[in-house]
Amino acid sequence: MNRLLAACFCLVLCLAAGDSRAAEPWGKVVEQADGQTVYWNAWAGSEATNEYIQWVADEVENRFGITLKHVKVANLAESVSRVLAEKSAGKTDDGSVDLLWINGENFLAMKQNDLLYGPFAERLPNYELTNADDWPTLTEDFTVPTEGYEAPWGMAQIVFLHDTRRLPDPPRSMNELLAWAKKNPGRFTHPQVSNFMGSTFLKQALYELAEDPEVLQEPATDSNFQRVTEPLWAWYGKLRPHLWRDGEQFPENAPAQHQLLADAEVDVSISFHPPEASNLIQNGLLPPTVRTYVLDGGTIGNTHFLAIPFNSSSKEAAMVTANFLLSPEAQARKQDPRVWGDLTVLDLDGLSDEQRKVFHELPKGAATLSREELGDPLPEPHPSWMNRIVEEWGRRYSG
């Protein structure tokens, strides 16, 4: 059956390639991309990510004559507001940002303010390899339809990290976590709620604690928000006094919390990349005794994307770069835990045997869970839940 599907897929690919209407413009795009410079705004808090991006820069330079510069940002919202500042100044071309690593609420903000170029995703030849039509998280970013304004880049799923030396048997549900934290005050925390990892932790808790998680797929409303999130706040109110630093301070982001785990200040950390822990152990950033786990009820998974601002002057080179990032070669390298360990968005069934083999031969890493252990990811709630949770948390616990 699979083989049949693959054959059909190949046929479709060939047909697509034979379609001169689609093929010719792409050839022209590649031609125009030669010599352009792409300023890629991407979160730069992790060395593994930065080094991978550096590798991409070298490759697109050699292959397509594109100069790729990694604009290192601590928070992508900075770049969103920069594009906005440019729009406000009437700068409709030659903008300072050409490519964005983006998802969720930043995408929604840019889409709502018409700050994006596109649709372009379906113009990328390698987009076909993702089999996006059968994989809803590739065309819906936090339930918001991408409509071709984003190209998928990588897959993520929440895993928790624990140091087996200090905590051999970690709590596997939010209620167990509360019980454990009461007995071990100051040994757990989460990243700041204004950081996406911190708010994701609260969303994860909401999934388990809400009476009917289905409702999270629809935008939050004034009428249902309080009711749906009440169990979350009741639970959090009990947990907070037992957090690290009495719940008055929080690590800036996930890597900062990994550092706390390494410094023995806390016993648990949280990550959006299942193989990240293996990568950090190998790089000497986490003790070799660290392992990962997921919660009994499953964890949230999502996709991260690439987008191009409306006023980029290097749209062609940005598209060629995005296409290269979707190539089996670049995707396999990204998934390698020795390099980065970010899961691929490609449909392995649609690849050639040789390409597939590369993925299958990647080392898993000591602390990485298998596909089965990870389980099916829970879908991301609509961004409005996140925005309201962040607001509500601020109202309750800031100051």
Partner: protein, 552 residues
């Protein structure tokens, strides 16, 4: 003729961007920001700001940590000067303190953070043999709720600045003569200093003190690295709002920038009132004739201040150096379990770009500042005018107006002019902050130079240009180089101006270090912080060392 224009050019290079930037921030603060659909003036942004959670506490934290660090720095620097004036320690202080001026705030803060954290180096050195800890204690030192760690980190940097400012002010009053008279009347050394010298010196260092206060109340990078996080001090809070994912937050952010401006103005106002109160209260004490004993307290204070500043700077730099050589380093080991050169070899390539950007921007901004300042000073000489105290205030504007208050607006202006993101824009934005310091460093030595040499040269028929190039500049080579080193250090340390004017495209050692400092890999932060601290230090050592060798 051209020379006459230099002061005006200087003021224009300075005030125009600040004014334009302020305007660009004020408009959104009152609701006008067409790109986001804000086309009518309203108070909505202010209301939205006031609804932000934790704003009140954020303001409180800002005031407490800002005043605490300024008071501590001011009291310590004054005590230091009073207790050690004309001693050997005092003469040594110039050499010990000046390099610390060159270390960027961010590098000092990053080092301090790792030094003092519960799982930091100090704790590791004494654990477990002395403390008995198995795990780091759950106490809040870095990022503490009321910003005391931040105040400490700021004071470490501000003490040397104020001591050096006091020293140069002492050149303008006849301090040694006054002291000699007072001491001959039986006043204790420190008492004599406080009663005769301090009242004359304070008016001279008032502006630097205000600048320190304004800086402490509005700093962003140090607040990110050492300050409280929930809520952060106002400047970091506003910075967070400016980069909020919800673009509608730009309105309250702009209103917050205005609030920050008001806070600094109010802070300076309060300080001014306190000055008046203190001068009234102590007028009696000044003339009452109490001689004061040989109080050792001041001396102890002075020594510990010197020790602490030097110790923290040296240990902070050392610990970042150690981290940059670590492969893994687990609590509570006093030193890394495995060493490596990997962090350096892997990052040498990545360092190159920010390194050269830092150097080029630093040299360009310093060079421009030197030209403008020398032009202004030479103009004073030739036209027998003296820059008024009021004009000095203009010079201080960029140091007194909070960066967050005008940099966003300035960014919009730069975008409109189509020059944002370029090196030129970054150099210009750095110039705003480099120029005042270069002026401060150079004005006194320039004005107190021996005029007779220049006059003699002129009498011998030397044209003014030649006098300037062949007599004045060589005479003042040392202070000129010193001013250049200070200017370079100021440029290296700039964070917000680089981020805003550079459109994020121009990465310097400082922007990289601050970005990395929130993102974890301490070994890499170690590499960047170390280079960031070392670069201005090298320039400083070169500036001090070069003319010395020439003289021999």
């Amino acid at each position: 003729m051209l020379l006459r224009l230099v002061p005006w050019l200087t003021v224009a290079a300075f005030l125009l961007p600040v004014a334009a930037g302020l305007l660009g921030t004020v408009l959104p603060a009152v609701g006008y920001f067409p790109a986001l659909g804000g086309e009518r003036f309203s108070l909505a942004p202010l209301r939205s700001l006031l609804e932000q959670p934790g704003l009140g506490k954020s303001v409180a934290v800002t005031l407490i940590s800002g005043f605490a660090s300024t008071l501590a720095a001011f009291a310590t620097s004054t005590a230091f000067c009073a207790a050690t004036h004309d001693s050997r320690l005092f003469r040594w202080a110039r050499y010990l303190f000046t390099p610390k001026l060159a270390a960027p705030h961010a590098a000092v803060a990053i080092g301090t953070a790792f030094l003092l954290a519960p799982s930091g180096w100090l704790a590791r050195l004494f654990t477990p043999w002395l403390t008995g800890w198995e795990r780091p204690p759950d106490v809040s030192i870095v990022h503490d709720e009321w910003g005391m760690c931040m105040a400490f980190g700021l004071a470490l940097k501000e003490i040397p600045f104020l001591v050096l400012m006091t020293m140069s002010a002492l050149n303008q009053v006849r301090s040694s003569e006054n002291l000699a008279v007072a001491r001959s009347l039986g006043y204790g050394p420190a008492t004599a200093w406080m009663k005769t010298v301090f009242p004359q010196v304070y008016p001279q260092i008032r502006l630097p003190v205000y600048a320190v206060l304004a800086f402490s109340l509005s700093v962003v990078d140090v607040a990110i690295i050492l300050g409280p996080t929930n809520p952060p001090p106002l400047a970091a809070y506003v910075f967070r709002l400016f980069s909020h994912r919800d673009l509608a937050m730009q309105f309250p952010a702009a209103a917050g920038a205005m609030l920050q401006l008001g806070l600094v103005a109010a802070g300076i106002g309060v300080w001014r009132l306190a000055e008046l109160a203190v001068s009234r209260l102590f007028r009696g004490w000044l003339t009452a004739g109490s001689r004061g004993g040989g109080v050792p307290v001041g001396r102890v204070w002075a020594w510990s201040a010197l020790g602490m500043c030097t110790g923290a700077a040296v240990l902070g730099a050392a610990v970042m150096g150690v981290w940059s050589l670590a492969r893994s380093w687990w609590f509570p080991a006093a030193l890394p379990s495995r060493w490596t050169l990997d962090n350096w070899s892997r990052h040498l390539d990545n360092l190159a770009d920010p390194f050269w950007t830092t150097v080029v921007v630093g040299c360009a901004a310093t060079g421009l500042a030197l030209v403008l300042v020398l032009g202004c000073l030479e103009n004073e000489d030739r036209h027998r005018v003296r820059t008024e105290r009021r004009a000095l205030w203009l010079l201080y504007v960029p140091l007194l107006v909070p960066q967050i208050g005008f940099l966003f607006g300035l960014q919009v202006v730069l975008v409109r002019l189509g020059v944002d993101g370029g090196l030129g824009a970054v150099v210009w934005s750095h110039l705003l902050f480099v120029l005042p310091y270069v002026f401060l460093a150079l004005a006194d030595p320039w004005r107190s130079k021996d005029e007779r040499y220049a006059r003699t040269a002129a009498c011998l028929g030397c044209p003014p240009r030649r006098v300037f190039l062949r007599v004045k500049l060589p005479m003042l080579l040392r202070p000129v180089l010193f001013a250049a080193a200070v200017g370079f250090a100021v440029s290296v340390a700039q964070y917000l101006p680089t981020v805003f004017a550079g459109a994020g495209r121009q990465a310097t050692l400082t922007t990289e270090a601050v970005t990395l400092s929130t993102g974890a890999d301490r070994r890499v932060i170690g590499v960047y912080a170390f280079v960031q601290a070392a670069l201005p230090m090298l320039v400083y050592l070169a500036a001090v060392g070069l003319p010395g060798r020439r003289r021999e």
